[in-house]
Each structure stands twice: as structure tokens, then as C-alpha cells.
Amino acid sequence: MTLSAQNIIKRYGGVVALSDGNLDVFPGEVVALIGANGSGKSTLSKVINGVVVLDGGQLLLDEKPVNFSSPQAAKDLGISTVFQELSLIPQMSVAENIWLAREPLLVGGLVNKKAVWSQTEELLSLFEGTYKSKLKPDSVVGSLPPDEKQIIEILKAVSFNPRILILDEATASLDSRQVQRLFELVQKWKQEGKAIVFISHRMEEIFQIADRYSVLRNGKTVGAGLMSDINERALVNLMIEEASVFNHARKNQASLDAANKDVLLNIEDLKTDVLKGVSLSLREGELLGIGGLMGQGQRDLLLALFGDIPHSGKISLKGKLVHFHHPKDAIKQEIALVPGDRAKEGLLYIRSILENMLLPSWREYGFPLRIRSAQKDATRVSSSLSLKMSGLDAPVSSLSGGNAQKVVIGKWLKRKPQLLLLDDPTKGVDVGTKAEFYNLLTQLCEEGKTIIFYSSDDEELIGLCDRVLVMHDGVIRTELSGEKLNKQNLIAASLGSVNGSEL
């Protein structure tokens, strides 16, 4: 069965995720779908497996146009996707999860437990030898470590005996042994005539397993061909943009000044559930970047600093040891955190812009609250951020993504924090707002504020930051600064290369 996605267009509200997405999938081979964050590759995979509906272009299945009415429809046609454990029920067992809604039945409607058990064992045996614990069909999924959960997701997708298998960042939680086993299985499946779409960041793996490649950049397919005809450097060049909107001049100046400033923050051996011992030192006025693939502990670092999660280790602020048990302690020390998911963590959607902006600060307005004064302050902050709104009393839900993010930032800027922590703040924000945001950050640093900036967008890190610490698996792997801080090194460091040396 061949699948062809041609000139796919997909919009989410005002944002264009895909303007020209293309992918050709042939039986018996592995095609790698490659692209940086925000390139549109996850959107393209969602179009292919029926989770989202395309706005333009066409999908051809065996040369015939097809329209998926639901994810189930795609599954019925033989397209199976491995999610990042979205579809597992934690309270149920491995077997129950894999066969949910498809259990083999006996006469009278009873589930054929023997068949379920044996078929599950068969599936489990595919990864035999790579499990850390004794994984049995009746093991409860919720108690499994992330890598084994991921394997169950893979087995679930495979159990449909699909003609096309989409592996969307499926190796993210797997260890090397499990990845190797997966690749052995992929070879077997190729021989059986299955087609595999391999979506990943990891260059090593792509070169190991893929037969062809297709590269997305900014929503467009910019290159496709045989893996044997290309090398890593060329692929990376296809992935990244040449033009840059950043002011490199500022960087050089700042790094000269930085050495003269005092140390603002010193962290020694910070540990949480995820962090395995992070140490770093930060001077006043620095714009420190945190990079690396998603989920390597960047968020935990920021949350621990802000006092939101339990942690151990030594943190000193301006020379004094501190341990924050609650964000309000950090806020009192003039630290601010702009969280990663503004809908779930940064905003009160049904409340007004005024209330959102003033949320951490009401105490300063006395009793009864001087609303007039608060409105004045909010207006001041909003205009300094060029916030487009119909009025302070409008609910935040009435704002566009970029403006909503400005409310989150405004909330903190109003307090004039000395240390600003940013958790991937420009995700889902349009280009115009991003540019304004970068200027704002640069300006803040010039005013002497200190910033720790985690971003999943490598362009931003390179363009804005003086230094970038690349994290992997709960520790800081590499530090890049000055000349070494460039696109190739950053991507290489994130993807697994250890000392950030030039490719």
C-alpha cells in the first residue's frame, strides 16, 4: 500500500502550521520525516493518521484520493501510529490496554482470556531481553517506567498488523538496547512489506534505519531523497534557516560586560525527581539559555528554582543561601517565572486582563483594593508591551495567542523582577510578536535584569543568549558560548554528540 501526501496545507486558527507538506510512503521501506521544532512535522503526521483534517492538498492511498473521517477510519485502512503514551489507561494492565475494544471473544460475549494472554505474550516477546523489570501481560501500565510504557504503545500499534506504521518520536523514551531491538523489528517488518514513517530528531538513528528522507522547514517540504545520497551536515543545513532576525552585535558587547558583574545565582548539585545534579553560575545582566531536546529536565530546573517542586541542593541568590518552598517565596525575592503552557499554567482564561496582570501583586494595593491605581499600572505595562486589547476588563480568552502571552509576561514585568525565568515562552506565538519579545528581552538585560531562558527553538537560543547550557537526561551536558555557540553545534549537542565539537 502506498501513501502519498501532496501539498498539504493546515491552519490552526491564524497560524499556518503547514503550507506545503509532502510525504511519499512506499511499502517495504522506512522514510524519515525530519524537521526542527515548529517545522510542521507533527502536524503532517497528524494529517496522515487522521487526527486532524487537512485544509488543502490531498492524500492519496494507492493512488486514489482518500479522506479520513476520524482517527479510527485511518486505523481501519491500515495506518497505525505510535503515540507518546497518550492512549494508555494507567489503571489497566498491559494486555487490557493493548486489546481494548478488540478483545478476542468466546461464545456468549466473554473475553477469551487465554487468547489475550498468549497474544500479549507473543507481542511482549518481540522486545524480550530489553525489559528492566519482569513485564507480564497483567502488569499494570501505570506502574511501568516511561520506556516500557512506550514499548507497550509500540506493541499496541503493531498489534493492528498495519500496512503503514508511523513512529512519532517513538524512540524518545527508549534506551539504546530497546532502540536496537526496535530497529531489528523494523527490518523484519520491511521484509513483510510494511511501510514505516520514522519521525525523529536523532541523526544517529535516522542514518541507521531510514532508506529515504523528507525534510520540513517552516511548514514546507524543502528536500527529499535517498539517505544514501546525503550526509548529516547537509541534512542539518536543510533543517535550519539561513536568515536570522537577531542582533549579534549585542551579544558580543554583553559577553564583554558580563565578566565584570556580580554573581547573581549559584546552583550546586540541584536534584529533583528528574534532575540528577545540576550546577551552574549566573551573573547579573546575563541572558542564559537552556537548550536540548524537550523533556530533559529543563522545566524541572526552572520550577525548582521557582519553588514549585520539591528539590535538594544548594541555591544561593546574591550570596545568600535560599530554599523556596512555594512560588510566593521566590516571588518575594524578586524572581518571576513565565510558564510553558500559558493556558494551563499562566493565565486565568475567564477572568479579565486586569485581574490576570495583577494576580501576584494585589497585596500592594491596600484594602480596599485601589482598582483605579491598578488599572493605571496595568495600562502602563500593556502599552509598553504593545498589547492589543479591547479593554482591561475584557476576558483574556478574547485575545490572540501572542497577546495572551504578553499578558503573562506583563504580569511579571510589572513587578520588575531581578531574575526572570522563561519556560519556552514563544511557543505558538506569531513572528511579529516574537520579534517584539526578543527586543524586550535584550532591553531587560541592558537594564541589568538577569534571564534564564529555556527554548525548544534553537534559532532563538543562538540569536539571543550569551551562553547556552544544553541539557540531557537531567544533567547539563554541554556549555556553548561565544564562537562555539552556533547552529551546527547546538543541534549536534542536542542530538547526542557529547562535547559540542564542530561537525
Binding site: 521557582f306 514549585d308 512555594h326 512560588p327 510566593k328 516571588i331 517565572l337 510558564p339 494551563k344 499554567e345 499562566g346 493565565l347 486565568l348 482564561y349 475567564i350 477572568r351 485581574e355 495583577l358 494576580l359 501576584p360 494585589w362 497585596r363 494595593y365 484594602f367 480596599p368 483594593l369 482598582i371 504580569k411
Partner: protein
């Protein structure tokens, strides 16, 4: 269907007026007699005060979100009524002390509710329902048959009788109370934080709000307000009995819903609850006038709340 932008409290008020006008048309109604109409309206307003005050605590916990509700309000009302009754024993100088005790006892019960909800992760519905049983048990222990006591004259004077310009004291008390509630919800950090935790506890915490403390405070305050309600109720009726507070419980929740406060939390006002209390008192009074039995009252109230929730309370669909 076009959506008219009337604020729910206003809609509730309009509904109340409509219901009142309808009541005039009934056989026992005031017909075209303006004086009787005013007298009846005043009486309805006066009766609404008690439900209104009892629903104040309910408003707070519902705004605080996470399925907040206080089913112990009814029994707290009865308990504080009895305590007041016994402590005052007809003496004016004991009134203030009795009021204080009513508030504190209510606050303690509310605090226990808060502990169960916050630290033991018991759903507010189940926790406060369980607590209601415990408080009822306490009432029976205290009540041991009959209690002896008496309401002080000053209470009757302030609450049941006209005070200024022929306006009953209860209404004036309610007006002051309503203003204080408005101040609390809209002009204090506490109020702003309460709405915040009702909308999104994660955002609230990451903005420096101590969610645990707020939760405990909301339930404790709700208990204290129910205690205040009990104090007023006994001041009005002059007698106590075990089921004194129970008839207020369901209507207190309905009043909050009618007034436009989201049952999921994070949005609402006490003015709305006040309007809701008037609507509900009107409904009850209408049913009484029509000589409908208690069973019909329950059916109408239950059905009304179901209707309200169907209109205001729909959650997100599974497919997005």
C-alpha cells in the same frame, strides 16, 4: 438563538420581579392593591435575607472551584441557632457573645471540612455531607429532648421588626452584609485569589497564591457565615428545632446557581446570589400560597436546579 448580554444577577432580578407580579394575579394575591403589594414585597424581601446569608458561604466555596460545595450549611445553621438560643436566654447583654460563639463554632466546622477536602483529598460533596451528619448528631446530643432558652428582645427588634422608615431590620442587615461581601470578593486580595483558585489552581500557585491556605479559609469562612445565618434565623423565628436549617440547604445552592455563579468555580458574585435568594424565596412562597405540599416544593426546586445546570453547566465535549 442570539445571546442577549444580560448579566445573570440582572436576569435573576428580572425573573424575581416577573414572579412577584404573577403572584399578584393569584386568588390570594394582592391584585391591584398597591399597599398590600408593597407589604408583601417587603415581607418576601425580609424572608429572603435568611436564605441569602446562608447562601453567602455557599457562594464562597463554589467560587473556590474544584467542585466546592458546603452541604453542612443546613446543620450548622441549626447548631448555631440552638447555641444562640441557649446562651442568650432572653438577655440582651448575652447577644454579642452568642453571635461570637455562633461564628466561631461555624468556622471550626468549616475548618474541619477544609482539612478533609484539602489534606485528605475527600471530595467536598462527600466531606461536607458526612460532616452534616456529625453536626446533626451533635445537635441531638445538645438537644436531648428540648433545650430551654429564649431569644433576646433586641434580636427580635433588629431582625424581625421594622427598624427605619418601616424597613425591617433584617433587610438593612442584609444590605450591609451584601456590601461587605462585595468588598470581600471584589476589593480584597483574598477575593481576587479566591476567584483565581476557582479558575485554575496551577496558575494561581505559580502566581504566588497559597492554594492550601485559601481553601481552608474559604471553607472556614463559609462555616462562620452559616453560623451567622443560624443566629439570624433564630432571631427571626424565636424557636429552635432539629430541622430548622435543613430547608435552607438545597435552595442555598440553587440560589447561587440562579445568580450566575459558575458551579465549576472562578466566576460569580454575591449580588447574583442575593437575587437568586429572592427568586427562590418567591418560588417557595408562591407554592405555599397555592397551598402546594412540601413534595411539590422539592420537585420544583430539584427540577429548577437541573434546568439551570443544563443551561449553564455543560462541560467540554470529548472530541475537540
Amino acid at each position: 438563538m442570539k445571546k442577549f448580554r444580560i448579566s445573570p444577577p440582572l436576569a435573576a432580578l428580572i425573573l424575581a420581579i416577573v414572579l412577584f407580579l404573577l403572584s399578584g394575579l393569584l386568588p390570594n394575591g394582592y391584585g391591584s392593591d398597591v399597599d398590600v403589594a408593597i407589604a408583601q414585597a417587603t415581607n418576601i424581601l425580609r424572608l429572603s435575607v435568611f436564605l441569602g446569608v446562608i447562601a453567602a458561604g455557599q457562594t464562597l466555596v463554589i467560587i473556590s472551584g474544584s467542585e466546592g460545595i458546603d452541604l453542612s450549611a443546613g446543620s450548622v445553621v441549626t447548631l448555631s441557632a440552638i447555641l444562640t438560643y441557649v446562651m442568650v436566654s432572653g438577655q440582651n447583654d448575652k447577644v454579642l457573645l452568642a453571635l461570637l460563639v455562633a461564628l466561631i463554632v461555624g468556622a471550626i466546622i468549616g475548618f474541619l471540612n477544609g482539612v478533609g477536602v484539602t489534606f485528605l483529598k475527600i471530595s467536598p460533596f462527600v466531606m461536607t455531607l458526612g460532616m452534616s451528619g456529625v453536626v446533626t448528631g451533635l445537635i441531638i446530643i445538645i438537644n436531648h429532648g428540648n433545650v430551654s432558652g429564649k431569644v433576646a428582645p433586641i434580636m427580635t427588634q433588629l431582625i424581625a421588626r421594622p427598624l427605619v422608615f418601616g424597613i425591617p431590620g433584617a433587610i438593612i442587615i442584609w444590605a450591609i452584609f451584601g456590601t461587605l461581601m462585595w468588598l470581600l470578593l471584589e476589593r480584597t486580595t483574598f477575593g481576587k485569589n479566591l476567584f483565581a483558585i476557582g479558575v485554575n489552581r496551577t496558575t494561581a500557585k505559580l502566581s504566588g497564591v497559597n492554594v492550601t491556605w485559601m481553601n481552608l479559609a474559604a471553607y472556614s469562612l463559609a462555616g462562620a457565615l452559616a453560623g451567622f445565618g443560624g443566629f439570624l434565623v433564630v432571631g427571626n423565628t424565636g424557636v429552635v428545632f432539629i430541622a430548622l436549617g435543613q430547608p435552607f440547604l438545597f435552595p442555598s445552592i440553587a440560589a447561587v446557581a440562579v445568580g450566575g455563579t459558575l458551579l465549576s468555580g472562578g466566576k460569580g458574585s454575591y449580588w447574583g446570589t442575593m437575587a437568586g435568594a429572592i427568586v427562590l424565596t418567591l418560588i417557595t412562597s408562591l407554592l405555599t400560597t397555592m397551598q402546594m405540599p412540601e413534595s411539590v416544593r422539592r420537585m420544583v426546586l430539584g427540577g429548577t436546579l437541573l434546568l439551570l445546570v443544563s443551561i449553564y453547566g455543560r462541560q467540554k465535549a470529548l472530541r475537540q
